[in-house]
């Protein structure tokens, strides 16, 4: 099937979303809540596009709207650009210090509102990526609490998160660095809970918490092949894998023979 984006035709597959096709072809659509690993939140509403389909014009979120053969998409119409500016100016009120937001403001030539004051302490845009990551991991230590303008991300009873394993996924995936995670003297503190950090078996750098390792071990159960490898940092894990690959393929010989 084919769809038309900004006047050009592109191949698309059934079940794909507009954003997938656009990104694959290098067409720019800004997003904040989209992650290829955790798609479908549709909360940031920055990826809105105009769709002409069956004689109807619709204004949809490209991250969740499925492609259909022959549909025509506009990513930068006048309406879209104007509304994007207003929306980004709102983002600037709730995360004024975020590098990502600042970048978007510059990229789309957005003038901040004079009339409305940004909250200097606010960082979180409540996109929900952290909660989704925590859910997918099966830890469920954080969730959205309250509703409406009082909504926030937090732990049960706002206490140090009992179920948190200190994996830091929430902080890493956050687009505005709103989740505080500090590391000092072999400890990591997140959601007001402090974890001891483990050193990598190979390089000796701190890399994860025992709780996270235990969580992975439990999840993998019997299927885990090499327990020892879980105790390596990502860098060393990759290094070992590369070494194995090299040994297995006798890459040296291969390279030699190519000469």
């Amino acid at each position: 099937m084919q769809i038309i984006i900004n006047g050009k035709t592109y191949a698309a597959n059934p079940g794909e979303k507009i954003l997938d096709v656009a990104r694959r072809n290098g067409i720019e659509i800004p997003t904040l809540c989209h992650s290829e690993a955790l798609p479908g939140l549709a909360s940031c509403r920055l990826c809105m596009v105009e769709v002409h389909e069956n004689g109807r014009t619709q204004y949809v979120a490209s991250c969740t709207y499925p492609v259909a053969d022959g549909m025509e998409v506009f990513t930068n119409s006048e309406m879209i650009a104007a509304r994007r500016k207003i929306l980004l100016a709102l983002y600037n009120l709730i995360a004024p210090d975020s590098a990502r937001i600042k970048g978007l403001l510059a990229r789309y030539h957005v003038e901040p509102f004079d009339r409305l004051e940004a909250d200097p302490d606010s960082k979180c845009i409540l996109c929900g990526l952290c909660v989704k990551a925590c859910e997918e991991l099966g830890t469920n230590a954080i969730s959205t609490l309250n509703r409406g303008t009082k909504k926030k991300i937090g732990t049960a009873f706002n206490e140090p998160a009992a179920d948190c394993i200190g994996c830091g996924s929430c902080a890493i995936i956050c687009p505005t660095q709103a989740i505080e995670m500090t590391e000092a003297e072999g400890n990591r503190t997140i959601w007001e809970k402090t974890f001891e950090l483990l050193r990598c078996r190979d390089c000796g750098e701190y890399f994860t918490t025992p709780e996270s390792l235990e969580h992975v071990r439990k999840k993998l159960g019997e299927t885990v092949g090499n327990i020892e490898e879980l105790q390596l940092c990502n860098y060393c894990k990759t290094k070992r894998a590369a070494t194995r690959l090299k040994d297995g393929l006798h890459l040296d010989e291969y390279l030699d023979s190519d000469k």
Binding site: G40, A42, S43, C44, R45, M48, Y59, A61, T64, Y65, P66, M79, A82, R83, I86, L87, L90, Y91, L93, I94, F113, R115, L116, I125, L126, C127, G128, T144, N146, R147, G148, T149, K150, K151
Partner: protein, 598 residues
């Protein structure tokens, strides 16, 4: 038994608030003591809403067709002695119809009723609200029997499509079309849901139907279940609607006992079961996907459509959600036929609509009118005009999703499309009449504040857009409005409408945008002149007593909570601005309109 009389005591929430349950109980007590069997048999029925809540508690007696209003417990003895044992009419308790300038014996002849046409409310007030026998006696469950015995599922869908029934919950989507999607959807498990989470803060028709005629909702749902191939139904009802929950649960139990629900209904092999889910109190749960998540046991946050619930709804199965009033129409369409139904109403909106006619109107209550009726007829003929003979300013429809229709549009025929063209919408059917003492800026602020609390907070345009708009409106109401505020409200509002995830956000700016469109001068008076013409915004209002007009009756001084008004009897009074908190109590009490706004 020749002289059997029935007393219908309205026990809808409106009348209960005025004490109708005590009347019902007193009546039972007195009747049970009297030995009436010989000449008169009196049957007392607790019914749902009769409509004219303003005049409650209402008591109606058949076969004489006498309606009494504002009945007190102290009137009960007299009613029984004079109107039940004898056939007299108690003049004192009759309704005085201002339009006809006469006391009217039966509610059927009230001006309030004349232009109404009842389909969804057909049984409310006429049957005992907890009796399946009464429902069946009125022809109840015959539509279900007809469908199961003589029609194929496709024929049912065709009939509903032919009737052009549109969803009464707000959007106005064609009901039959929606059903056809779910009927076509793959899967052996499908669900039917009744949306009874009436969240519009000015509407109560769905509750009245659930309280007064619960079986009609169940029958409508069962008919849909047969049509789309669903055997299980959920009724999501606001937990605050205690009586509706209770009556609906009893109705389900009674329907089971009677065999019109459960296995092999009417010997057709069709099985259908329903259960009540109490809502948690969240306006956003009126949105289909939110409601589904709430039934599943999660927070009521919406998700993107597509997929639509008709294809993937409750627990991922094809699901049809309709609101209470829509369900109440279904059995009638099946019984009387799609052609009959489609003969009522306007070109693109068929049938009737129930409105909660409230606000500054003489006859507050529930009214059901044919689509296409003019606004003027609803407000002046049915509603009896504006309270205290004040000046009509506007009528708000569609609640927090709608907007105001100004005086210049009084002759607008009311249907789905005409309201949208005016920047409002049908919504669930709140109709709030506004006079010149309502500030349109503050009124817009009211809805936005409601929405700021009720937005689920998931998507940024809705959550942050509403918050920013509310901040600006708060400023304007407090006298801190700035040049350019109106334009900024329009800009943010249009983005929120376009970019929000669900229907709540997509319509949230309507009350503000519509009031700006129709009453821009009031916004400007607040911003530029720092004046609230309606005298509502406290920082922008200064009240005074017109010395010429004041007759010195003292009512104002009595009503003042801060003792800011003083004066001699029969002499013009004065108001101390330093003490006045601008609560308008005096202004409401004054009979000669002597309290004025600077």
């Amino acid at each position: 038994m020749q002289n059997k009389k029935t007393i219908f005591v309205c026990c809808g929430t409106g009348c209960q608030a005025s004490g109708s349950m005590k009347i019902y109980q007193t009546m039972q007590k007195i009747i049970s003591k009297l030995d009436l069997d010989v000449e008169v048999v009196a049957d007392i029925k607790k019914t749902g809403c009769h409509g004219l809540c303003q005049k409650g508690p209402l008591v109606h007696i058949t076969p004489q067709e006498i309606t009494y209003i504002h009945v007190k417990t102290t009137d009960v003895q007299e009613i029984i002695e004079r109107s039940i044992i004898k056939d007299e009419v108690i003049d004192r308790l009759l309704y005085f119809d201002k339009q006809q300038n006469a006391k009217i014996q039966s509610k059927n002849d009230w001006s309030f009723e004349k232009k109404q046409f009842r389909i969804a409310l057909r049984h409310c007030g006429c049957i005992a609200n907890d009796s399946i026998d009464d429902y069946i006696a009125k022809g109840g469950y015959q539509a279900l029997e007809k469908v199961l015995k003589t029609m194929t599922p496709q024929e049912v869908i065709d009939e509903i499509r032919k009737s052009s029934l549109r969803g009464r919950g707000g959007g106005g989507f064609l009901t039959g079309l929606k059903w056809s999607f779910a009927a076509k959807a793959q899967g052996d498990i499908k669900y039917v849901i009744c949306n009874g989470d009436e969240g519009d803060p000015g509407a109560f028709m769905d509750r009245s139907i659930m309280e007064g005629d619960p079986h009609t909702v169940l029958e409508g749902m069962a008919i849909c279940g047969y049509a789309i191939g669903a055997n299980r139904a959920f009724l999501y009802i606001r937990d605050e609607y205690g009586l509706a929950v209770e009556n609906m649960k009893k109705a389900i139990a009674d329907a089971h006992a009677r065999g019109v629900m459960g296995q092999n209904i009417f010997g057709s092999g069709f099985a259908f079961d329903a259960e009540v889910v109490r809502g948690g109190g969240a306006f956003v749960c009126g949105e289909e996907t939110s409601l589904i998540h709430s039934i599943e046991g999660s927070t009521g946050e919406p998700t993107s459509k597509p997929p639509f619930p008709a294809n993937q709804g409750l627990w991922g199965k094809p699901t049809i959600i309709n609101n209470v009033e829509t369900w109440a129409n279904v059995p009638v369409i099946i019984s009387k036929g799609a052609d009959w139904f489609a003969s009522i109403g306007s070109e693109k909106s068929k049938g009737t609509k129930v409105f909660a006619l409230v606000g500054k109107i003489n006859n507050t209550g529930l009214v059901e009118v044919p689509m296409g009726i003019k606004l003027r007829e609803i407000i002046f003929d049915i509603g009896g005009g504006i309270e205290k003979k004040r000046k009509f300013k506007a009528v708000q429809t569609g609640g927090p999703s709608g907007g105001c229709i100004p005086e210049s549009k009084l002759d607008l025929p009311i249907d789905y499309d005409s309201l949208i063209a005016e920047g409002s919408m049908m919504g669930s059917g709140g109709m709030i009449v506004i006079d010149d003492r309502t500030c349109m800026v503050e009124f817009a602020r009211y809805y936005l504040k409601f929405l700021s609390e009720e937005s689920c907070g998931k998507c940024v345009p809705c959550r942050e857009g509403i918050k920013s708009m509310l901040k600006i409106l708060n400023d304007i109401c407090e006298g801190k409005g700035q040049e350019g505020d109106i334009e900024l409200l329009e800009e943010i509002g249009s983005m929120v409408k376009a970019n929000s995830l669900c229907g709540l956000g997509k319509t949230a700016p309507n009350p503000v945008l519509s009031n700006i469109k129709n009453f821009r001068d009031e916004f400007e008076a607040h911003i530029k002149d720092k004046r609230c013409p309606a005298g509502v915004c406290k920082n922008l209002t200064k009240l005074y007593i017109d010395q010429e007009a004041c007759i010195g009756c003292g009512l104002c001084a009595k009503s003042c909570p801060t003792a800011a008004i003083s004066g001699e009897k029969k002499q013009p009074h004065v108001l101390d601005e330093a003490k006045c908190i601008n609560c308008n109590s005096c202004r409401e009490r004054c009979a000669v309109d002597a309290i004025r706004v600077h």
